[in-house]
Symmetry: D2
Amino acid sequence: MSSIRVTVWNEFRHEKIDEKVRAVYPDGIHTAIASFLKGNFDVKTATLDEPEHGLTDEVLANTDVLIWWGHMAHGDVKDEIVDRVYARVMEGMGLIVLHSAHFSKIFRKLMGSTCNLKWREIGEKERIYVIEPGHPIAKGLPEYFEVPHAEMYGERFDIPAPDTQVFLSWFQGGELFRSGCCYHRGAGKVFYFRPGHETYKVFYQKEIQTVITNAVRWAAPVAGPTVTFGHRPEPIEDVTPYEDKSA
Amino acid sequence: MSSIRVTVWNEFRHEKIDEKVRAVYPDGIHTAIASFLKGNFDVKTATLDEPEHGLTDEVLANTDVLIWWGHMAHGDVKDEIVDRVYARVMEGMGLIVLHSAHFSKIFRKLMGSTCNLKWREIGEKERIYVIEPGHPIAKGLPEYFEVPHAEMYGERFDIPAPDTQVFLSWFQGGELFRSGCCYHRGAGKVFYFRPGHETYKVFYQKEIQTVITNAVRWAAPVAGPTVTFGHRPEPIEDVTPYEDKSA
Amino acid sequence: MSSIRVTVWNEFRHEKIDEKVRAVYPDGIHTAIASFLKGNFDVKTATLDEPEHGLTDEVLANTDVLIWWGHMAHGDVKDEIVDRVYARVMEGMGLIVLHSAHFSKIFRKLMGSTCNLKWREIGEKERIYVIEPGHPIAKGLPEYFEVPHAEMYGERFDIPAPDTQVFLSWFQGGELFRSGCCYHRGAGKVFYFRPGHETYKVFYQKEIQTVITNAVRWAAPVAGPTVTFGHRPEPIEDVTPYEDKSA
Amino acid sequence: MSSIRVTVWNEFRHEKIDEKVRAVYPDGIHTAIASFLKGNFDVKTATLDEPEHGLTDEVLANTDVLIWWGHMAHGDVKDEIVDRVYARVMEGMGLIVLHSAHFSKIFRKLMGSTCNLKWREIGEKERIYVIEPGHPIAKGLPEYFEVPHAEMYGERFDIPAPDTQVFLSWFQGGELFRSGCCYHRGAGKVFYFRPGHETYKVFYQKEIQTVITNAVRWAAPVAGPTVTFGHRPEPIEDVTPYEDKSA
C-alpha cells in the first residue's frame, strides 16, 4: 500500500435531505469514494458540517491529496477554509475536483476564471476518450469508455487551457467537454474530472474508480525543492551596484 | 491609427511622495506609457485616487486593453473594482500587467497562484531573450536586448505555466526569469511583462515600448463568439430521457 | 486588402479522375479555396503535377502562408520539396493543413508523430465547438456550427498537444476530435483544420471560409527577430575561460 | 528496485580517439550513466559501432526507457534504426535526450523543428533553476544548483514549446536556455536535458544523476490504452448514411 494520505471531502447535504440521493449513496458520496481508495491509500473523510468543515490545519497538514465534491452548498464553504486549502495546494498538496465542484470556491480561485459551463440532466450517454495515452492518469483504461447515464456538461467550459488534457467527453445530446484536465498551481497539482453525479451511479463504475485512483498518484506531492520568495539583497554573482549620477 | 481603445492605469502614489520617482516620471508612469502609445491607439489614463479608481463601468465598457501598473498600494485597490476588471477580462478585454503589478490583486486573481518571486534592487543588467520568434509580441525586436539597470526578479516565479512564453530574462547577479507570459482567461487575454521600475528609465526605452505596443495589439478583443452558459434542458440531438426504474 | 501572400496547394488528382469529385470542385479544391480568399489576400495556387509541384524556391520565397490539401497522393510528393517547405516554415512561413493532409509528409515532419486517426465516410453530422473564444481564429464565429455531412475523424489523433486548441468536433456516430490545432514550429506557425472533403461541399460553407481566412491572418509571419545559430566563441559578459589543471 | 528496463545508448567514438575524453570517461559515457542508474533500474547499454547500433528489435522491445548520448557522429546513425526507435516511442517507450544529442536524428524527428541553438566551450558556470517544483523530475533537488564548468547552450533553442518546462539554465557568459523539457509524442514521453559534456565531469555530479534518475521514472511507459487507428466503417451510435441525391 502506498503511503499517500488522501482526504475525501463532501458537502454531505443532499444525501441527508433527498431520498433519491440517499438511495444511491446511503453513507454519502465521500464514503463511496473512500471505499474504493482504501485498498491503495491511507484514506480519511471530511464534510461541510463538521467544525472547520473537517479541514483543520492539522487535517490539511496530514493530507497529501484532497478530493473535493460539492454541488449545492458551495456558498456555505467559509472563505477562511478555502484560503487554507489554497495555501496547502501552493505548498504542494494535490487536489482532485469532481464534477459539480467545478463551481466550488477553491477550484474557481485556483483557475482564475469563471469555470462556468452548459448543463442538462436527462441521463444521456457520455463517452470518455483518452486523448493522452502516455499520461499516468490513463493507466489501465481502454481507448474510451462509457458512462451510461450522465448529467451533460458542455463547452465552452470557462477554464484556462489545461497543462495536459487527458480526457474529452462526447455526449449523446450533441455536446462535448474537456473532462480530464491537469494543472500545476504553486507546488501543487490539480486534476479536474467531469463525471460524477449524486443520483447516477457513476462512482460505482470501475473505470471511474481507476481514473480517480490514478489521479491520486499523479497529484501526490513529489518532495521537490522548498521554494523561497522575497528579498535577495546579495547577488549570487559579483555585481557592482549602480548609482544614478544624473539624479 | 488602430481603433483599439487603451486605458493605462497607475497607482500614481510614489510619483507624488518621492522626488526621485518624480524626477524620472514627472507626470506619472501612466502618462509616460500613454505617450508612446498615443500615435497608435485611442489612449486614456486612470489612477488609484480617482473616484472608483478611474475604472467606472463606463470606462471599462469602453476599454479594449487595460494596462496595469502598481507596486506600493496593491492593498488599496477595492475588491469591488478588482471584480469589475476581472468580469471585463472574462468578457474579452485584454490586460497587460507590468513589472511589480505581478502582486496586484487582479493578476493574482486571474492566475490562481501566489505570483510570488525573488527580487533585488542594485541596478544590475537584464538581458531579455525572445524565445518564440514567431509570436506577434516579438515583432520588430532583435534576438535579445538589454535593460542596462533593472530591478532583478528571479525564479521560482509562482505562476501557472504560460500558454506561450515569449521572453526570458537573464540577470547579471545570477538569476533568470520568465519575463513575457501570455495567458487566455475567459474570453480575454493577459500578458505579463517583467521590465519596468519607478526610478530606472525602463519605459523610455525603445524595445520596451515596442513590446507593450505589440502586446496591446495581441491582447485586443477578437470579436469571437458570445459565450453562453447555464441550463440547456433541450438536447441538440434527439435523446430519450432516462428514468431510473430501480429507484 | 491585406498584403499577405497566400499559396493554395492541391494534389489536384482526384478531381481529374473521379466525376463525383469534379462535380463538386470542377476547377479543383485549390481554386475553390483561392476564390473565397481572393477578396482579402494576394492569392496564387500550385499543384502536384506542375514542375517542382509548383513550389519552386521563388514561389516559396514569395509565400507568406501556404495552404495544403492532399489525400490520395501524399507519397508522390518529393522529399526534396517537403524539405524546402519545411525550411520555409522554420524561417517563418505560415502553414495551414486541411483535413486529409493530416497524413501529408510535411505535416508529419513538423509534428514529430504519426498523425494517425480513426475515420469513417457515411456523411454524418459534425458539430464544431469554439473552445478558445478569445483566439483570433475564432473571430466572427458562433459558439458552434455544424457541417451537415462530413467524413468522421476520431480520437486518438496522434499529434503533440497543440499550443492552442481552438476547436473540438462532435460527430453523430459517437466520436470526437481535436479539429483546430495551433502550433509554433521554428519561426513559423502551423494550423491544422479538420473539416474538408473532396465530395462534401465543406469549402463552400461560410463558417469554414471564415476559419481559413482567420487562420491565414494568424499564421502570417510577424517580422520577429532574425534568429541566428551556431558557435559564439566570445561570451557577452566577461568570463575567464576554464582550464582543467587535473587533466 | 524498480522493474523499469533502461538502455543507455552512446556513440562511444570520442572516448576512443581523444585522450582527454577517455581520461574523464574511461569506459565511455554510457558506462558512467549506467553506473549510477544500476541501483534503481534494470540497466543495459548499447553503442553506435555494435551491429544495428546495439538497437535490435529485441533490445528495443525490452527497453522501457532509452537514454541517448551523441555529439560527433549523428550522421552515422542509420535512418532505419532511427525509424525503429521512433516507432517504439510512438508505442510508449520513454526517451531521454542528453546535451549534444539535441542534434541527433531521433530528437529532431520527434520535435519537428531544427533543434538548433547557440554554443560556446570556455568552461563557464551554469546555474540550473527548477521552474516547476511540483513536477516529479524535480524530486529531491534544491531550488537551483550549479554546474561549475559547462559548455554553454543559448537561446533561441529551436524546439516546439515543451509540454512542461522543468528547468531553465543561466550562464555566466550572458545566455540562458530551456534546459529541462518534457514532451508527449505518440504514447511515449521524451525528456531533453541540457547538461552533459564529454570532458567536463557533469555526469559524476549528484544533482545531474538525480535528474536523470527521476526522468527515467517519469518517462517509463504507463500501461495506458492500446491505441488503434484506421477505418471504422460502423459508427458507435446509430446513423443513417447520407446519400447525395443532387449528384
